[in-house]
Amino acid sequence: MLAQLATLLRYRPLVQSLVGRELKARYRGSVLGFLWSFVNPLLLLLTYTIVFTKIIPGLHSARMEPYYLFFFCGILPWTWFSSSLAESAGGLIAGGNLIKKVLFPAEVLPVVTVMANLVHFLLGLPILLAFLAWEGRLRPAALLLPLPLLVQLVFTLGLALGLAALTVHFRDVQNILSHLLHLWFFATPILYLYGEVQGTVRDVLRLNPMSHVIVSYQQMLFDGTFTHGRNLSLAGLVAVVAFALGAFLFDRLRDTFAEGV
């Protein structure tokens, strides 16, 4: 794993320029261009706000008011997570030309995907902070934000590497993944409050590392406190294991990529 990290560091300039390219290329040709990075989360927010305050109101308790803001705290990091995975699953195949025709470090592709989505997350963050400030909820706890962010980064990288490698040999992964991510979304306390879930469901939620990451974001941003440290550390441990496994799997299958994609 350390060797993997070293490789990634060595390819930093390449990752940087590819992330830059990814961001430039994404909105090239659209009228709003780079503004889409801000408009996207706003539109997402608007949609869910309408659904949960107008169409099916009353599903959430008073502790989640203002609900749109509560939801925003969870959906923004989740979007980073789920888009990263969805995109990196097909990433090696889409970048097949590079792997087959150029001596190219394949791990760079999923890493670039995760990093590009991280940038989108970071671009959405000021909007969220602005809303928090407007509602008078911005507290010093928000300064702890790098903690869950780091855990999520490591966890996402691990999964992205593993998924990217597996998809080369099992194209099914891409199809299963979208449904899995959907399920995972509902199994993560984004729409509801972690503390209000009881019984078996809560045990399941507890096993989900993303629960603790999201709850940490919610506490730091929405509640202005942070009491979830122990759970977040455990999630961090799981994230490191996930990264090690993903990197191992990727390395193990590396030599098959040029023929498999």
Partner: protein, 450 residues
């Protein structure tokens, strides 16, 4: 002399996917626990086997061979894109592989940004890319378009930019895979000049190509791969000659096989439609069969059946014909077509005013074409027996073919006997002796044994 590339008994085995296996699912792999065993090959294909060679530093090395002979696999191994299954392959110094030009370009962003990223991909630092940027753009001749998105480029512009970046990486070992086929004459010229400059600077170059002329001209050493094995290596001229002779022999076998198929084919059935040319030329056989052409042979000057000829040889088309009833109204004809369906020549016994007297039982009709003056290419032969009014007895359209081989790559169809005369201020030195390949001396050619 130190070596730039050392290959020892290199083998590359690809797994060949069975359809069933290719569509197996993750679920089934997890259920049966065969995740890793599924990833070990069962059906395999050996692309390279026991390949051993060395390339001294500073030399230019050509690799030739038919499609599928393992040339590109060898190049990919040298580039480090895939790893040998067995054996060892060591390449010293920085390698730049021109396998597919502009492989890493992103269509949506500008040429400028793509150059920067592609350069980094190929191993340059950001600063190096900046330093070489102007040279790259100048070499690609894309100053005007460098800020336009790459998707707006023509394929030639795309390849030029890709070549320009790759060549400016300044590698110690340059691998080139048939990429000079892109771009116009002028650019190809420029690429060749650049490669020549590389040679002068003592860099090692490996060229995989079908252009034997290029190998003869530029390479110090050549390697001929046949079915993944080294068939020959050494002096480029000798190796390309051996290869050409082999290819001629192989085509001979191929055309002979097609020939046999035509003779045994049932009347109504046409051979595959690939013979349909732009002129609507379509292979087939039809007619009433009162006269039947039972056999068609293409014979060389010594009466041996052959399907590859060189200019100047004689070709005899021999028809075995049969008629069950006595006939007085019959014409034999022959048509010669280029591969695209262009009619090269056509004649028949009626046009040449032979008077038919009687046809009964078995007979033979031969048309001797003395001194074939055709340029290189594949030619199709029509033969027919029909009535004077054109009603066919037995018409064989495009069922037979032969190939012309020539060292001279002149164009068109017909090569008149000609010579060049220069006088006054026009001075040209004559080419070296360019013997046409001699296909007649070795029956079957070496291809039969290989």
């Amino acid at each position: 002399m130190s070596r730039a590339v050392v290959a020892r008994d290199v083998a590359k085995v690809y797994r060949r996917f069975l359809h069933q296996k290719q569509f197996r699912t993750l679920k089934s792999a997890l259920l049966t626990g065969s995740l890793l065993s599924d990833l070990s090959p069962e059906e395999t294909f050996t692309a390279l086997d026991g390949v051993t060679f060395e390339v001294p530093k500073g030399t230019t090395f050509g690799v030739i061979g038919e499609n599928g002979s393992g040339k590109s696999t060898l190049l990919k191994l040298m580039a480090g894109i895939t790893k040998p299954t067995r054996g060892s392959l060591v390449v010293e110094g920085r390698v730049s592989a021109l396998i597919e030009l502009g492989a890493g370009f992103h269509p949506e962003i500008s040429g400028r940004e793509n150059v920067a990223i592609n350069g980094i991909m190929l191993g340059l630092t950001r600063r190096q890319v900046e330093e070489r940027f102007d040279d790259i753009v100048a070499f690609a001749e894309l100053e005007e378009f460098i800020d336009a998105p790459v998707k707006t480029y023509s394929s030639g512009m795309y390849a030029r930019l890709g070549f320009a970046v790759a060549i400016h990486v300044d590698p110690d070992v340059l691998l080139i895979d048939e990429v000079l086929a892109v771009g116009d004459e002028a650019f190809t010229r420029k690429c060749l000049d650049k490669i020549a400059e590389f040679r002068r600077r003592g860099k090692t170059i490996l060229i995989v190509t079908h252009s034997l002329g290029l190998v003869e001209k530029m390479c110090d050493d050549a390697l001929w791969l046949r079915h993944g094995r080294v068939a020959d290596r050494g002096d480029p001229k000798r190796v390309t000659d051996a290869y050409l002779t082999y290819v001629a022999g192989g085509e001979e076998a191929l055309l002979a096989a097609g020939h046999a198929a035509a003779e045994t084919a049932p009347p109504a059935e046409s051979p595959p439609g690939e013979k349909a040319g732009p002129h609507g030329y379509r292979a087939g056989r039809w007619g009433s069969r009162e006269v039947e052409i039972t056999r068609v042979r293409l014979l060389d000057g010594r009466g041996r059946e052959r399907h590859v000829y060189v200019p100047g040889e004689s070709l005899t088309v021999a028809l075995s014909v049969r008629s069950a009833t006595p006939l007085q109204d019959f014409v034999f004809g022959l048509g010669l077509f280029a591969a695209d369906g262009t009619n090269v020549y056509g004649t028949n016994t009626d046009l040449e005013e032979f008077l038919p007297r009687r046809l009964l039982g078995e007979g033979e009709v031969r048309l001797v074409l003395e001194d074939l003056r055709l340029v290189e290419g594949t030619y199709l032969v029509d033969v027919a027996a029909h009535r004077k009014d054109g009603t066919p007895y037995d018409y064989h359209r495009g069922l037979y073919s032969f190939r012309m081989k020539s060292r001279t790559k002149d164009v068109g169809v017909y090569r008149p006997v000609h010579r060049w005369v220069f006088a006054g201020g026009a001075e040209l030195s004559p080419p070296g002796p360019r013997e046409e390949l001699d296909l007649g001396d070795e029956p079957g050619g070496p291809g039969r044994t290989g």
